[in-house]
C-alpha cells in the first residue's frame, strides 16, 4: 500500500515537471554548435565552391566513405577559385561515423559538419550523397 502511494507521488511529481521529449519533427531540440552531424560543402565569399578536390578528406577518412575526383576549372566559368575543383564528391552516409576528421583535414574549410542530423530514408541509395546534396546553395 505504501509502495503504491509512493509510486503515485512520483508520478504526480513528474507530471508537473516540464517534458523531457520534444515534439519532433514539428519542434527540434537545439544542438550544440559543434555537434558533428551531416556534412555540407561550403562556398567562399564570392559564391565559389571552397572545395578544390584535393582529396585530403578522403585520405583522412578512417572508414573510406568519401570519394573525390578532381578536374581543371573550366576557363571563364570556374566552380572554385584557382585551378582545380572537385567534379565528383560523394559521401556514403551509412558508412560515415561522423568523426570529423574530414573537416580537420580540409585545407580550404570546404567540408564542414553541421548540427543537422535528419538522416531519414528507406532507400539505401539515398544515403550516397553527392555534390548536389552537399554543396550549400549560392547566397
Amino acid at each position: 500500500m505504501g509502495g503504491l502511494v509512493k509510486g503515485l507521488a512520483t508520478t504526480l511529481k513528474y507530471l508537473r515537471r516540464p517534458r523531457a521529449t520534444v515534439d519532433y519533427p514539428a519542434k527540434e531540440r537545439p544542438y550544440p554548435e559543434r555537434f558533428r552531424g551531416l556534412h555540407i560543402l561550403d562556398r567562399d565569399a564570392e559564391g565559389l565552391e571552397r572545395c578544390v578536390g584535393c582529396e585530403l578528406c578522403a585520405a583522412a577518412c578512417p572508414v573510406h566513405c568519401i570519394t573525390v575526383e578532381a578536374a581543371e576549372n573550366p576557363v571563364g566559368a570556374p566552380y572554385s577559385a584557382g585551378e582545380r575543383y572537385a567534379w565528383r564528391y560523394e559521401i556514403d552516409l551509412l558508412r560515415c561515423i561522423f568523426c570529423g576528421y574530414c573537416e580537420e583535414a580540409c585545407p580550404e574549410d570546404a567540408i564542414q559538419l553541421t548540427p543537422r542530423h535528419d538522416l531519414l530514408s528507406n532507400k539505401r541509395e539515398d544515403f550516397l550523397v553527392g555534390k548536389d546534396w552537399l554543396t550549400v546553395p549560392r547566397q
Partner: protein, 663 residues
C-alpha cells in the same frame, strides 16, 4: 674499395662513389633535390650538406667523392641547421598550394620539409609571384612558382637529350625554367621531366588533377608501343589507367620513357572501341561469332596476317589456328638477320662505332635513340637522315643505293661496332658483309616474338588473295590498307571471308565479314620479345573490352587447309617517294588515342630537299588527294620526298606531289 664511416657506421664502396650514394649504401638517407643518379652533380640545391671530420666547412654530399678513412656526419646540429636554412629559403617563394598540386603526396619538398624543415617561416616580405599552369604543349604544364630551380630538367635536356627544350631564363631570384623563345616543348621526351622534377613545377597535362598518388594501384608492366618494350609502372585508379611511370630497366630503357609510350593510355576509354562481335555488319554474341569463324576456317584455304600486336602466346596460337601466317604486314621483311650476331640495346652503350642503315631510331624506337645520340661516332647511311640530334657522319645515297654505300664502309678498325637496321629493303648481304652485330628496330611491337613463334611464310599472302587463292583471311591487328600501297583493297575485296580482330573500326573492318573486338594494351597479360631478344611479361591492369586474342584462339580449332603455294613476295619500295615511320603516326591505332591528340599536328609533314625549290610551310597535295605541309631537310638525298608512314592510305610507287599556293 674505399672504407669510410657515415654516422659511425662503416661502409665500403667503389672509389669515385659520391657521398650521397655511399650514405645510401650505409642505410642513411641524405635529402637531395638537384642530385639525380643519372645526371652529373650540380651542387645547386645545397640540401645535402654534411659534416666531414677535418673539413672546416660543410660539404655537399652530392659532389664529394668518398676517400679512405673519411668520417661523415649527417645528423649533427650544424647539418640540421643547414638543412633547416635551405628548406626555409626554398619555401620563401613557394606558393604552398599542395592541395591542388599534382605532386602532392609524392613531393620531395613536402617530405623533406616535414622531416628536416623548420616548423614555420619567418618570411613576411611578400612572395614573388610567377606564371602558373603554363601549358607547354603537347603534354607539359609548367608552374614557375613551385619550381625550386634544382635544374634537373635543364640538365636532363642537356646531358641526356642533347636538346635544350627547357632552359634557364633570367638569373638570380628572377630565374625560372621554361621553353625560351617558343610556346611548345618541341621534343619526344618531355614526360621524363615530370618524374625528374622533385616538386610540382613540371606536371603532365594528361594526368592533371586525375588522382592522388595514394589512390593508385601500381603494377609493373611493359610498354608495347614500339619494339623496345620499355618497362613501365601502370598506375590505376577506380579501374582506369591514370598514368605510366618509369620502371627502370637498365638493359632496356635505362630509366627513360618517350612521350608516346608514356601517354598512349587512351585505348581503354576510347569511345570508338569496338564493343560487339560483328558478322556481316550485324552485332552478334561471341558464341555465334566464333562459330562463324570456325566455319570460315573449315571452308577453304586459310591464311593469317598480323602478329606484331599479339603476345608471344597469342602469336603461337594464331599460327596454330591459321597455319599459314605472316607478321610482315608493313614494309619490314626481317625480324633478325640470319647468320649475324644479334646486338642488344646495352651493346650500343659499349659500341665504338654505330652504323645506322637507313633507319631513324628516334621515330621508330625513341628510347633507343637516347643511347645513340651520346656517341662520338655514328655513321648514318641512307637517303634520309637517321640522326636528328647529335653528331653523325652522314653518308647520303639514293634509296636504291644503300647496299652500295654500305659496301664502301670499312669497320675493320672498330673494336665494337654495332649496326642498327630496321629490316627494310634488300640489304641482308650488304649488312652481313659489315661483319658487325646487328640490332634490329622493328616496325611492329612484337615482330621478334612473332618471328620466334614462326609467323613467317614463304610467299606473299596478299598476292595470293588477289589471285583468289585464299578463302579465309584473318587480319589479327593488321591493317594492310594503311601499311601497304595502292592495290591492296582489290586483293582484300577478293577474299570470300575476311576476319578482322582489332580494337577500333578501321578501313579493314569495313571490308570484313567477321569483326572481333579484342582486348587492347594493358588489358591482356602475356609475354613480348623485344628487339634485343629479351622476353618480358606484360600485365593486365585494367578490365578488358572484348576478349583477348589468346582467348579467342583458344576457343577455336585449327583450320582444315592452310593456304599453300603462295606467289613470291613483292617489294613495295620503289620510286623517290619514301614512306618513313613517324612517332605520332606509327602503330595504326595511335590516331584513336585521345591523350595523344595534342601531339598530332593537323597536317602531315612532307620532307623535301632544299633543291626541290619548295619553301618550308608550303602546302602540297599528294596524289591530288592528301594535303600536307612541306618541311625542308638538307640532310635528305636531293631527289627523295619523305612522307610519314600510316598517314596517307594507298600511296604507290607512282605517287605524285603537287605544290599548291598557300591561301
Amino acid at each position: 674499395m674505399i672504407t669510410l664511416t657515415i654516422d659511425g657506421k662503416t661502409v665500403s664502396v667503389e672509389p669515385g662513389t659520391l657521398l650521397v650514394e655511399a650514405a645510401r649504401a650505409a642505410g642513411r638517407d641524405i635529402p637531395v633535390y638537384c642530385y639525380h643518379p643519372k645526371l652529373a652533380p650540380a651542387g645547386a640545391c645545397r640540401m645535402c650538406l654534411v659534416e666531414i671530420e677535418k673539413m672546416p666547412k660543410l660539404q655537399t654530399a652530392c659532389t664529394t667523392p668518398v676517400s679512405e678513412g673519411m668520417a661523415v656526419h649527417t645528423t649533427t646540429a650544424r647539418v640540421k641547421e643547414a638543412q633547416h636554412g635551405v628548406l626555409e629559403l626554398l619555401l620563401i617563394n613557394h606558393p604552398l598550394d599542395c592541395p591542388i598540386c599534382d605532386k602532392g603526396g609524392e613531393c620531395d619538398l613536402q617530405d623533406f620539409t616535414l622531416r628536416y624543415g623548420p616548423p614555420s617561416s619567418r618570411f613576411l616580405d611578400g612572395k614573388i609571384h610567377r606564371k602558373k599552369a603554363l601549358d607547354c604543349p603537347p603534354f607539359l604544364v609548367i608552374d614557375e612558382e613551385r619550381c625550386i630551380l634544382c635544374q634537373r630538367c635543364v640538365r636532363y635536356e642537356d646531358e641526356i637529350l642533347h636538346e635544350r627544350n627547357i632552359v634557364l631564363i633570367e638569373r638570380g631570384s628572377h630565374m625560372t625554367i621554361g621553353t625560351e623563345g617558343r610556346d611548345d616543348y618541341g621534343g619526344y621526351y618531355s614526360g621524363n621531366n615530370t618524374e625528374l622534377c622533385p616538386v610540382g613545377a613540371l606536371t603532365s597535362r594528361p594526368y592533371r588533377f586525375k588522382s592522388r598518388p595514394w589512390d593508385l594501384k601500381m603494377t609493373p608492366t611493359i610498354c608495347t608501343q614500339c619494339s623496345l618494350h620499355c618497362n613501365v609502372r601502370a598506375d590505376v585508379r577506380h579501374g582506369d589507367l591514370m598514368r605510366l611511370m618509369i620502371h627502370d630497366n637498365p638493359q632496356v630503357d635505362g630509366g627513360w620513357l618517350c612521350d608516346r609510350g608514356r601517354y598512349a593510355i587512351g585505348d581503354a576509354k576510347a569511345a570508338e572501341r569496338l564493343s560487339h562481335p560483328l558478322v556481316r555488319g550485324g552485332e552478334v554474341s561471341w558464341d555465334i561469332a566464333l562459330a562463324e569463324v570456325q566455319n570460315a576456317l573449315e571452308a577453304g584455304p586459310v591464311a593469317g596476317l598480323g602478329g606484331g600486336r599479339l603476345t608471344n602466346e597469342a602469336a603461337a596460337a594464331f599460327k596454330q589456328i591459321c597455319g599459314t601466317v605472316d607478321w610482315r604486314v608493313g614494309r619490314q621483311t626481317y625480324a633478325r638477320v640470319p647468320g649475324v650476331a644479334e646486338a642488344t640495346p646495352s651493346d650500343l652503350s659499349e659500341a665504338d662505332v654505330i652504323v645506322l642503315v637507313d633507319t631513324c631510331p628516334m621515330e621508330e624506337a625513341p628510347i633507343l635513340d637516347l643511347r645513340i645520340r651520346h656517341h662520338k661516332r655514328v655513321i648514318d647511311v641512307g637517303p634520309v637522315p637517321g640522326m636528328r640530334v647529335g653528331p653523325a657522319e652522314r653518308v647520303v645515297c639514293a634509296p636504291d643505293g644503300v647496299a652500295e654505300a654500305l659496301r664502301g664502309l670499312d669497320l675493320s678498325a672498330a673494336k665494337h661496332p654495332v649496326v642498327v637496321w630496321n629490316g627494310r629493303g634488300e640489304l641482308v648481304e650488304a649488312i652481313r658483309a659489315l661483319g658487325a652485330p646487328v640490332l634490329m628496330v622493328h616496325e611492329v611491337a612484337n615482330a621478334r616474338g612473332a618471328h620466334d613463334a614462326g609467323l613467317e611464310t614463304e610467299g606473299d599472302i596478299l598476292a595470293a588473295c588477289a589471285e583468289g587463292k585464299i578463302h579465309t583471311l584473318w587480319l589479327a591487328g593488321a591493317n594492310p590498307l594503311r601499311s601497304y600501297p595502292a592495290d591492296v583493297r582489290a586483293a582484300l575485296e577478293k577474299v570470300p571471308v575476311l576476319i578482322v580482330s582489332d580494337l577500333y573500326p578501321t578501313e579493314v573492318t569495313e571490308l570484313a565479314t567477321i569483326v572481333l573486338p579484342v582486348a587492347g594494351p594493358f588489358e591482356r597479360a602475356g609475354t613480348f620479345t623485344n628487339l634485343g631478344g629479351l622476353t618480358q611479361t606484360a600485365a593486365a591492369v585494367v578490365a578488358p573490352r572484348g576478349l583477348s586474342d589468346e582467348r579467342i584462339f583458344q576457343r577455336l580449332r585449327p583450320a582444315a587447309q592452310p593456304a599453300k603455294d603462295l606467289p613470291a613476295r613483292r617489294s613495295f619500295q620503289g620510286g623517290n617517294l619514301l614512306v618513313r615511320p613517324h612517332l605520332w603516326s606509327g602503330g595504326g591505332n595511335t590516331r584513336f588515342d585521345r591523350t595523344l591528340e595534342a601531339a598530332r599536328t593537323a597536317l602531315a609533314t612532307v620532307r623535301v630537299h632544299p633543291s626541290q625549290g619548295l619553301a618550308a610551310g608550303t602546302h602540297v597535295m599528294i596524289n591530288d588527294v592528301h594535303e600536307a605541309v612541306v618541311a625542308v631537310d638538307p640532310g635528305l638525298h636531293p631527289a627523295v620526298v619523305v612522307v610519314p608512314d600510316r598517314t596517307f592510305a594507298g600511296l604507290g610507287a607512282d605517287a605524285r606531289l603537287r605544290a599548291v599556293v598557300p591561301a
